[in-house]
Symmetry: C2
Subunit: 346 residues, 2 copies
């Protein structure tokens, strides 16, 4: 029922109007740029800039991650669509302060194509651009092909860490290394119980039986590991986390997660799944991590990487070292995620 | 469909398990107290304490508003049910540091009865208790009977302001005055398009026709001003804000909202209504406030006062003066709402 009762105006103007509203939500901290981008006001001269972006309809990401000690700007596409190259260029020009721009976004074919063309246009304007793709969804390809994975909810801790790193990075090279590390250390797995809808048509984004869960399903309903029977939180969460543990184990580029390790744990709702359910899932995840001697350094919980009224959850784990902890501890503020300096309970 | 696919364990243990998960989400900042309460660790001796509470199922409120410069503790009821007096007493004892405890919660008969009994039990233990009820829903009673109004989303800015005031309040009297002022200055109006469901039964919390909006509907589906045809954002938002403007005008205890006034604007989702829709509604609200010369000092936007997968939005406006601005500017951190020091764009 709810997909028929979206509170919008013209279905074809949804992306433009929400970006206007987003700039209003920033209440003077951000400016609207060009066709459909936004950028922080007062980016310091000489700062290595961080640009994020992607399709609209997944709010509060990506464009809600523009903010203090986070991304400097975002290039926004239409609903579930990559930003066109012209929009990427406008956003790039708005955030560039002479030290170049790092593009950091989720690995989807349309985004890669358009951001790459945008980068070429920017290079023509003598702006140095580098790209790091977020490929955190372990269900979308095996560790040996991890560069082909989709980008999902891990983008929140990743952009938070890279945004912090960008405040002190001396060069685009240095920021690229920080971004690659944050991506390498972050893995996600999601499930979905029911689809969201496309605002312009009201049609569901995918089909799933009423008694099934899509295990490893992507944020638009892309197929994952397979469908399993609907079950309880305490049955599902261990299965989900096992995919993450096994992935850290199987990947030669990173050490397995074990006793004494510290992690950021992010429990995300895909939309209509309630905070109530997220907290019950977090409770089980905490038990499992504790049994393995893995310490939760900080928690993120909420509906931050969504696909309209889709139901489902995802877990993202970022394995920390001293450098990442230092970047984590920096305060940040945005529509999507805000934290004070330090770590919880520290 | 989604109401049948809640990701939970035992439907009758949902409240207990989510409060456990909430304490895990605080990751060391809060402790679990007694049967179903939580309290900040390390509340300073001699602090005038602030206790919130209410039924579970509306996450992230109320209990997600425990935090730094916010509430010191929360007494949690079962799903959509007031906390029993014994739980209120346990929470009161946990937060009391010798200067008494202010109860600040939404005006619902069950909550009032149970918190009042809890207060009597606490007085028997020589703990001084005062109560301020949140009655911000302008659709639930006229200005002349405003003490009978329900408490809805306005609780977020109210608890934020009172939590800040509690950091420096010298006495329970002083904090009570601050709380009454924050409540007086805060008004809300909500609409709903479709119900949430009761986790234990999967049954919807109310019925509404597919082509109607419940104008002024409460957060559990309580009747409001009436039903209107489903419409667009730009048609609906002016109607909603007019109720707030007229209420400030009609109330003899507060000046009308007008040119030069500064406000906190909170755009809330009742659950499954997306951040996309909230931002489009914020865009229209900003236009309307600007036309009236009312300045938005800060914005809150998100699904913070929810009723499961209910769809709908609410607007809350808090009119500021210098004292309230000073309290607003204080940083705060919790699962529900976090901000850095200062105001946006300032």
């Amino acid at each position: 029922m709810s997909e028929l009762k979206k509170l919008i105006n013209d279905p074809l103007k949804v992306a433009d109007e929400l970006v206007e509203g987003l700039v209003d939500a920033y209440n003077g901290e951000c400016v609207h740029v060009g066709q459909r981008s936004l950028a922080l006001k007062n980016i310091p001269d000489g700062k290595v800039a961080l640009l994020v972006g992607g399709g609209c309809g997944h709010e509060p990401i990506y464009h809600g991650l523009v903010g203090k000690n986070l991304a400097d700007g975002a290039a926004c596409g239409d609903i579930f669509a990559a930003p066109p190259p012209g929009i990427v260029l406008e956003a790039t020009q708005a955030v560039d302060k002479g030290k170049g721009v790092l593009y950091l976004y989720g690995n989807y074919a349309g985004d890669v194509m358009n951001f790459d063309i945008g980068a070429e246009l920017a290079e023509d304007e003598d702006i140095d651009v580098r790209t790091v793709l977020i490929c955190d969804d372990v269900a979308s390809a095996p560790p040996t092909e991890k560069q082909n994975r989709r980008g999902v909810a891990g983008l929140v801790p990743i952009v938070k860490l890279v945004g912090a790193a960008s405040q002190t990075a001396c060069s685009l090279d240095e920021l690229e290394i920080s971004a690659k590390k944050a991506c390498l250390m972050t893995r996600s797995i999601g499930v979905s119980m029911s689809p969201g809808s496309i605002p312009a048509t009201g049609k569901p984004t995918f089909d799933i039986d009423a008694d099934k869960i899509g295990l490893g399903m992507g944020i638009h309903g892309e197929p994952g590991v397979g469908e399993i029977p609907m079950t309880t939180t305490d049955e599902l969460v261990p299965q989900m986390l096992d995919y993450l543990f096994k992935d850290f184990e199987a990947d030669e580029d990173v050490a397995a997660l074990g006793e004494g390790d510290e992690v950021i744990l992010f429990v995300n709702s895909l939309g209509a799944t309630t905070m109530m359910e997220l907290l019950i899932a977090l409770r089980k995840a905490k038990q499992i991590l504790s049994e393995r001697g893995i310490k939760i350094y900080d928690v993120i919980v909420g509906p931050l990487v969504t696909c309209q009224e889709m139901t489902g959850i995802s877990f993202s784990i970022t394995k920390l070292d001293d450098e990442l902890k230092q970047h984590w501890n920096m305060a940040c503020q945005s529509i999507c995620y805000t934290k004070l300096e330090g770590a919880q309970g520290a």
